[in-house]
């Protein structure tokens, strides 16, 4: 026997082992473990539970979460934050005035309290955002799910409809719609005008996800069990495809708030009697050089809110993607 092949054991007297041809590690070093033992963590976990565990460890999640919560509370209970009436107490004498006691951010051109107007405008901006994402999610999920799951001519028809809406820039479309509906301007019409052109991106994301999920063996196994097509879609395919939709929905809420502000700024948004950040910015633009504060404060409110939602969307996206989680 030659001794040309000489692995040495990981521990122990290497020199002695070196000359041995057939090496066997002592059993104590690597005790045999039963094959395929069930090892489960203390608590159950799946995608959503894991995502929550991941998200709650991240400071950004808490920062954006607290900001969003604050904005929501402001929107629902503006009275908690200011007792100054935003419209009735305006005094032209105070037009574009600086901060005074009880009016920390000064006054608008009409002599109204800036701080109060921002607080009271929050609900408008947020309502538009929420109506828009409800609309885009419902339309996007219906179109995306049926197109992706059923395929064939259903997919062709639904996807082409989506493409038509997708090819029209939604701000431009909203400008046109709002100009036409000039006498009906309200939170609802502006939400409709934005939402009706914003849903195709949701539909596309969902359709792509469903196309890959429906190939899974568990879908085939359910089919072999005799589960109906529609039930497979709602029970198995949709829950497994919805994660990216949730992430983009959070971000599109931010986009909708921006869109409302943009339309209002352009003068085709909400009527000037409705308080919203967009309207505030619109009305302040004429005095931007002399009195920038009336423009800056509502802009900051807008930016912070949008920023919070975008951050939240990003955190959710990363938390729901196990690959992104592993890379961090």
């Amino acid at each position: 026997m030659s001794n040309e092949f000489t692995p040495v054991p990981s521990t122990g007297p290497a020199t002695q082992e070196r000359s041995r041809n057939h090496f066997v590690a002592p059993l104590e070093e690597t005790p045999l473990v039963a094959i395929d033992v069930v090892k489960v963590a203390e608590k159950p976990s799946n995608l959503w539970i894991d995502a929550w565990r991941d998200a709650r460890r991240r400071p950004i999640f808490w920062i954006s979460g607290v900001l969003i919560l604050l904005v929501l509370v402001v929107a629902v209970f503006p009275g908690l934050f200011t007792s100054v009436a935003p419209n009735n107490d305006c005094q032209l004498a105070l037009s574009n005035g600086g901060p005074t006691a009880g009016h920390p951010l000064g006054f608008t051109k009409q002599g109204c309290d800036v701080y109060s107007r921002i607080i009271n405008g929050t609900s408008t901006s947020l309502t538009v955002g929420i109506i828009v994402i409800l609309l885009t999610t419902v339309l996007g999920v219906v179109f995306g799910a049926f197109a992706g799951f059923y395929g064939g001519w259903i997919d062709s028809v639904l996807s082409r409809i989506g493409d038509i809406f997708f090819s029209i820039p939604y701000i431009l479309a909203a400008v046109v719609i709002m100009s036409v509906l000039a006498q009906y301007r309200s939170v609802w019409t502006i939400s409709l005008a934005i939402g009706i052109f914003a849903w195709p991106s949701t539909a596309r994301v969902l359709r792509a996800e469903i196309l890959s999920v429906k190939q899974s063996d568990y879908v085939m196994a359910s089919e072999a069990l005799g589960v109906s097509k529609l039930r497979i879609l709602f029970r198995h395919v949709l829950p497994n495809s919805i994660a990216p939709v949730i992430a983009i929905t959070t971000i599109s809420l931010a986009a909708a708030i921006v869109a409302e502000a943009t339309l209002s700024f352009l003068g085709v948004g909400l009527g000037s009697d409705i308080m919203s950040w967009g309207n505030e910015i619109n009305q302040a633009q004429r005095d931007i050089r002399t009195h920038p504060q009336t423009l800056i404060y509502p802009s900051v409110a807008l930016s912070v809110t949008v920023f919070a939602f975008i951050l939240m969307g990003e955190v959710i996206r990363e938390a729901l993607d196990p690959k992104a989680r592993a890379l961090r």
């Binding site: 030659s2 040495v8 990981s10 690597t30 094959i35 159950p44 799946n46 072999a224 069990l225 005799g226």
Partner: protein
Amino acid sequence: MSSVSNPRRDAGAPLLEIKNLQVGFQTQNGTVQAVRGASLSLRAGETLAIVGESGSGKSTTAHAIINLLPGSGRITGGEILFEGRDLAKLSQKEMEDVRGKLIGFVPQDPMSNLNPVWSIGFQVEEAIKANGIATGKREIKKHAIEVLKEAGLGDADKRLRQFPHQFSGGMRQRVLIGMGLSSRPKLLIADEPTSALDVTVQRTILDNLDKLTREIGTALLFITHDLGLAAERAEHLVVMYKGQVVESGPSREILQNPLHPYTQRLVAAAPSLASRRIQSSSHSLGDLDYSAPRSVEGLDLIAAAEHRAELQAEAPQREDSIVVENLTKVYKIRGAKGDFKAVDDVSFAIERGTTTALVGESGSGKSTVAKMLLRLEDATDGKILINGTDTAPLRGKELLALRRRMQPVFQDPYGSLDPLRNIGNTIGEPLVTHNIGDRTSRRERVLELLEQVSLPATLSTRYPNELSGGQRQRVAIARALALKPDIVILDEAVSALDVLVQAQILQLLSDLQGELGLTYLFITHDLAVVRVIADNVCVMQRGRIVEKASTDEVFDRPQMEYTKELLNAIPGAGIALGV
């Protein structure tokens, strides 16, 4: 074993010597040690195989040699001496000179390791340029052609201009091997080079690899999970388990006399070895006098095969459960001339309570047959009778009744369970779908099923991502059994599992068959597994059944050339193994 027989071995110091290697991966929960003090040595021109299950650290060890550890992996201790130089201490720049030039590498997956947007020629030439083997356009091209010729690709001239998608998996792997050897490295590392390929292709590729490394005198470090393959191809074996080397030495000796209990388990559970051993015993399985060593209880494939052979011999003749007559499936291909016949005039019958294996390589149409049986696809022509009933006209309630009697288990353990539904709901889904029992009785049935597949009842509130591949496959089996079917169609149900887990699942399937009188259609590409689980075999090639007979018949007296080729491709040939 004598060193005189092989002059290449007389060289002095080892070419590669790994001493007490430690590799750790950085994760959120601290460092995970993937390799814990592995040592091995390899001389110039020798072949060494590292064998182990997934997670044993075999690939990590190989990747550490050329410092290609994935992600956050880092060498945390030990030495990797290559010609006396410690590779673990080299800088990035120095390492690049070693990689390719001195140490070649053949990756596992030929499908994703060639860039689809560049021609094969460009990629081979790139490797040649990078390693400075030749200079000048013409020289490089001449060299590239040589590389492809060596790798066994005819028409190398034309092939250079083709793109990866025009190559089959086997051809791509040949190209990668050719590239790996183009610079005449002293060492070639091949990480499961053939695990993604068909068995017959595997054989020719490995023959070619063998021949080339022998001619050039390159040492080969070969990583595989198949002990039979390792023993057939390498002079030396290193068995890794949980990041450590548990046994190493000359292949033959380890196979014939495994000393570490883990190695003993591997030897007992490797289908290729079991199949070879049954074959070499020249007894029929029923007469085999064999008792398994204690350390491998419940894993020994020969013991299991023997047991089932005895049971089947005692059983009386039964009626046919499945009859397939002249089954044909034609796919229309858009743009192509003519149609594609995936299944061509296939007929077979399966007796109740027995197992028939449908064996074939990828594209042979075996899975399409399964889908037609399950009514997931409609047949173009031919008939399928389940317990005497033609299935084609069944609709609605009748179809649901058919589904109740016949259930599938699929290959991919990671795709066969809905990740968002807990195990209890997954196993209970068939009961809900077919409206069987109420909430409490369903719950009881789920727990009973979990016990049948040897999983703890606590799993019913857990989700699939907490389970291993083998455990998921058990859940899939439990789901298939929920409706008390009499037929189970196993489509490559054990192919993706590690050998030990595979042996356990095979044992489970065999126990369940005895207990519940199940009829199995076992679809697989692995003839070795067939030897230990099936009563009858149908060999499929290009949509047709080329041979069908009892398992003993097919293994002892194969009639067709193709069957013989498949049998020869089972690794472990020519290794003397006692039963």
